[in-house]
């Protein structure tokens, strides 16, 4: 059984605006529109998106679309019961490949921030875990950003590696900037484009715990990869990543945010974290791990399992500190896809090797799953989870649905 990831654009009619005039049903050339005594609805299996019904609609109610996984498309019967349209659960934005771990927020918007990605709320959860702390979002905006001071900027990857990943620490002084692990902020790079427009903000995951990069300080850290080429491999300096990687201690940065209200960690002590990431997608995993490490002293019993992929050991951010963590605290699995003389290995391959342990975690209702990395990893990781679940006698489709519903599966890709 394979994972069906096909996402469709489903055509829906807004029952609060529709006047039930029958014009659309009359117009539809393929008979996809039908009605009962209450609502006019579109059958997603028949609708071919020809748009013939759109301009004749007198109300505009017809012009509603939702991105949704094909298998989850709203049925005709379900639509008949609606009093109002369901909310769109995902926002896709432009992707600036490889810039770092930028993200966009699904709840409340990110005030025009680009260079991000999506919290995938079609394939993953729209809600945080029940025990997550309540996040603050959008405190500082384009119109009113906050100034942060650089208090540290270190290269994380080996000098020999072509991958230049920096660990940057920003301090907010006396200004409030409350954050949670899994949230992100955006940086406004100075200057303007060749056309004279101000550069848009870039989003980065927070790599530190809620109580500060240095515990008890009002600071946080980011994991930023210097972008030297675009997605097609053409040489091109990333505006914001180069700006950040070149910052010196004492420099100031304009910041907006925080963003993100669903990719958050559970706070009940016996909850387990299954974390799967690649490259700078490790930022939120580092944050959550660090928070758990600090809390561990207070008697938390939950398990942590990490699958972390990079091209080589030298490109893996935080390799040293990660290896120093106690084995009984976190189960670390590293996959390298470009190690000389070794077969390519991806995170999903490692997950399959550890199928028994992963299946055990899937079986535990206190397990929360976090995936963060390049968009391309999502399908492979979900397929691996599906195979592991099915092979261990846990049918994936219902389990997946449950994980999403309970805020236990969080996907963030860029």
């Amino acid at each position: 059984m394979s994972v069906h990831l096909e996402v469709i654009k489903q055509h829906l009619i807004d029952p609060e605006i529709c006047i039930r005039c029958n014009t659309c049903e009359e117009t539809c050339p393929v008979g996809a529109i039908t009605h009962d005594g209450k609502n006019y609805v579109v059958n997603a299996e028949l609708c071919n998106l020809c748009m013939a019904c759109v301009s004749p609609c007198p109300t505009g109610a017809i012009d509603n679309w939702r991105q949704i996984r094909k298998d989850d498309a709203y049925s005709v019967d379900e639509q008949y019961t609606w009093e109002e349209l369901p909310k769109q659960t995902t926002i896709a934005t432009s992707v600036e490949q490889g810039e770092a771990a930028p993200k966009t927020d699904e709840g409340g918007g990110t005030d025009g921030v680009e260079g991000g990605i999506e919290v995938d709320t079609v394939l993953g959860s729209t809600l945080p875990p029940w025990s997550a702390a309540r996040p603050y979002v959008n405190i500082y905006t384009h119109k009113a950003p906050i100034t942060a001071t650089v208090v540290g900027n270190y290269r994380l990857t080996a000098e020999t590696s072509e991958s230049d990943v920096h660990h940057i620490v920003l301090d907010f002084g006396q200004m409030p900037f409350p954050v949670l692990e899994g949230q992100s902020i955006a940086v406004l790079p100075p200057g303007a484009t060749a056309e004279g427009r101000a550069h848009h903000a870039r989003q980065y995951s927070i790599a530190s715990a809620r109580d500060g990069e240095r515990r008890g300080y009002n600071n946080l850290s980011l994991t930023v990869k210097r972008v030297v080429s675009d997605a097609q491999g053409q040489a091109r300096g990333g505006v914001c990543s180069n700006y950040l990687c070149d910052l010196k201690k004492g420099d100031t940065v304009q910041v907006i945010g925080p963003f993100g209200s669903s990719f958050l960690m559970p706070n009940h002590p016996n909850s387990h974290l299954l974390m799967i990431c690649t490259g700078t997608g490790s930022a939120p995993m580092r944050a959550m791990t660090e928070y758990r490490r600090r809390r561990r002293l207070k008697g938390a019993t939950g398990k942590l399992m990490l699958f972390f992929g990079a091209r080589t050991r030298e490109e893996l951010p935080y390799f040293g500190p990660l290896m120093n963590l106690p084995k009984d605290f976190i189960d670390v699995n590293l996959a390298f896809s470009r190690t000389q003389g070794q077969p390519k290995k991806y995170v999903q391959d490692l997950m399959r090797e550890r199928a028994e342990e992963v299946a055990g975690m899937l079986r535990d209702e206190n397990t929360y799953i976090y995936v963060c990395g390049l968009k391309g990893m999502e399908e492979g990781v979900l397929q691996a989870l599906a195979d592991i679940a099915n092979q261990s006698g846990q049918p994936w489709e219902p389990l997946w649905k449950k994980l999403k519903q309970l805020g236990r599966l969080h996907l963030e890709t860029y």
């Binding site: 605006i17 006047i19 039930r20 014009t23 013939a52 301009s55 109300t59």
Partner: protein, 475 residues
């Protein structure tokens, strides 16, 4: 004589450019139409640039073309829904025979009468609404009014086309007479009663477009089943435009209710006097307007038992609403239908031959459809957490035509005496004071995006434009 560039000036799919007879007839009629529009069309607005929808063809992409237009320059077109190959008559004695492409001699007088009666309502409503532009609650609403008006104008064109193309000289005379009658005129009134009533304020306009234009929808739907194919195809296309009129009505009333509920919650009161003082229309007054427009519209369907209706059906001239979705024999010779009658001062159900009750069948379909929208209005009230609910009155309430004419029936369906009727008339129907109050709220709001205090803004603009779009340029 005005010469007409047929392909450009009059968008059509009836081969106007190739039909000399029709061209001559229209050349006569068109200047008179423009002159009627200037005299009786929307008052004081002929020079405005209005963001209007014009049908330029019948395919989905072509019939909703939006642009700024001065109304007298609106391109009133002549359209029929695409022909259905080998279409057959779906009901009556000629069921199964090929649909008529020309008027059958024996039905000529009746068909002409049907078309004239329908056609007469179109200019009538433009006349009824001609003063409303002066008190529009927003430029969005003003634009919607004008859209309704120009489309009623186009519906007149559609009927005139049928008269001129298929009915020779007497058709041309009837077409002229459609421009001669005047809504509310003592000497030369419009044919149907409801179209001689005034539309004095915007609440009345919204109620009119909700209820009375819905009568139009049901009449057009019945005619869209006609065995006379040009009539069927013409009315079928008109239905697409009629939908906009009902949208204006349903959303208009809904926005009035929404605004009132907001103020009720703000002031934490359901006292009509306090609400009126706050400049919104109390829900009781909305209910009275509803009672009036609903009952007046029910009369438009005609007598509950009608041999004319039976004959129109059997002859294949006028069908039922959604004829092809019904599973009976479509001839109805043995079918019966329950109608409400009066016996000894009480309302009783009687079973009568369905053929004779076809007006009542259509009226009942209308009632079902009307109730749907009223329940959507109630959702707005419910959402605001207010216990009030609107309801359509009993169908025997305030009727002037048919069995119930002269009978006094309360909105909840009790036959009442003269005394009780008198006592409650001001609770059940709008009073002069109600109308004066609503009229007192009517003041023109022209700034884009601004709305009068008594009505909420719509949830979205027209044609995906923002709500604050400049829908009317006043020049």
């Amino acid at each position: 004589m005005t010469s007409i560039d047929y392909s450009e000036k009059i968008p059509n799919n009836v081969n106007l450019a190739g039909d000399r007879t029709l061209q001559r007839a229209l050349e006569q009629w068109q200047p008179n139409f423009i002159s009627w529009w200037k005299d009786m069309g929307p008052e004081g607005s002929q020079a405005f640039d209005v963001y209007l929808r014009t049908a330029v063809s019948v395919d989905p992409g072509g019939w909703a073309h939006f642009d700024y237009v001065k109304m007298p320059e609106y391109r009133w077109g002549i359209f029929m829904s695409p022909a259905q190959q080998d279409r057959q008559i779906q009901f009556g004695e000629h069921k199964g025979q090929p649909a008529w492409q020309e008027v059958p001699g024996e039905h000529r007088a009746n068909l002409r009468r049907i078309i004239v009666t329908q056609g007469d309502t179109e200019p009538a409503s433009v006349e009824q609404q001609r003063h409303l532009g002066l008190t529009a609650p927003s430029s969005y609403d003003l634009r919607n009014l004008f859209q309704v008006n120009v489309e009623e104008g186009r519906h007149l064109w559609a009927m005139v086309y049928l008269l001129q193309r298929y009915f020779g000289r007497d058709g041309r005379e009837e077409a002229e007479a459609l421009l001669g009658r005047r809504s509310g005129d003592q000497d030369n009134p419009r044919i149907l009663g409801a179209f001689n009533e005034r539309t004095p304020d915007w609440l009345a306009f919204f109620m009119f477009t909700y209820f009375t234009d819905r009568d139009g929808k049901f009449q057009l739907s019945a005619l869209a089943e006609s065995g006379f194919d040009p009539l069927a195809r013409t009315t079928k296309f008109m239905l697409t435009e009629e939908a906009h009129h009902m949208f204006v009505g349903e959303s208009g009333v809904s926005r009035v209710i929404q605004r009132t509920c907001a103020v009720m919650n703000q002031l934490k009161t359901d006292d009509p006097q306090k609400l009126r003082a706050a400049g919104v229309i109390d829900l009781e007054t909305v209910q009275r307007y509803l009672n009036f427009h609903y009952s007046v519209t029910l009369d438009l369907f005609g007598a509950d038992q009608s041999s004319n209706a039976a004959m129109f059906y059997s002859a294949g001239l006028k069908g039922r609403f959604e004829e092809n979705k019904r599973s009976d024999d479509h001839q109805l010779k043995d079918a019966s239908y329950k109608i409400l009658g009066v016996d000894g001062g009480a309302l009783v159900e009687r079973e009568v031959p369905m053929l004779n009750a076809l007006n009542e069948v259509l009226r009942d379909d209308f009632i079902k459809d009307s109730i749907g929208g009223v329940s959507r209005w109630n959702k707005v009230i419910e959402k605001a957490g207010i216990p009030f609910r609107l309801a359509v009155p009993h169908k025997a309430f305030n009727r002037q035509i048919g069995t119930f004419a002269g009978l006094k029936v309360s909105p909840d369906g009790r036959v009442v005496g003269q005394e009780e009727w008198q006592r409650n008339q001001s609770v059940w129907l709008p009073t002069a004071e109600d109308r004066a109050f609503v009229a007192s709220l009517m003041g023109r709001v022209v700034e884009p995006g601004k709305f009068a205090n008594w009505i909420a803004p719509p949830p979205m603009g027209i044609n995906k434009q923002p709500i604050e779009f400049e829908y009317v340029r006043f020049n």
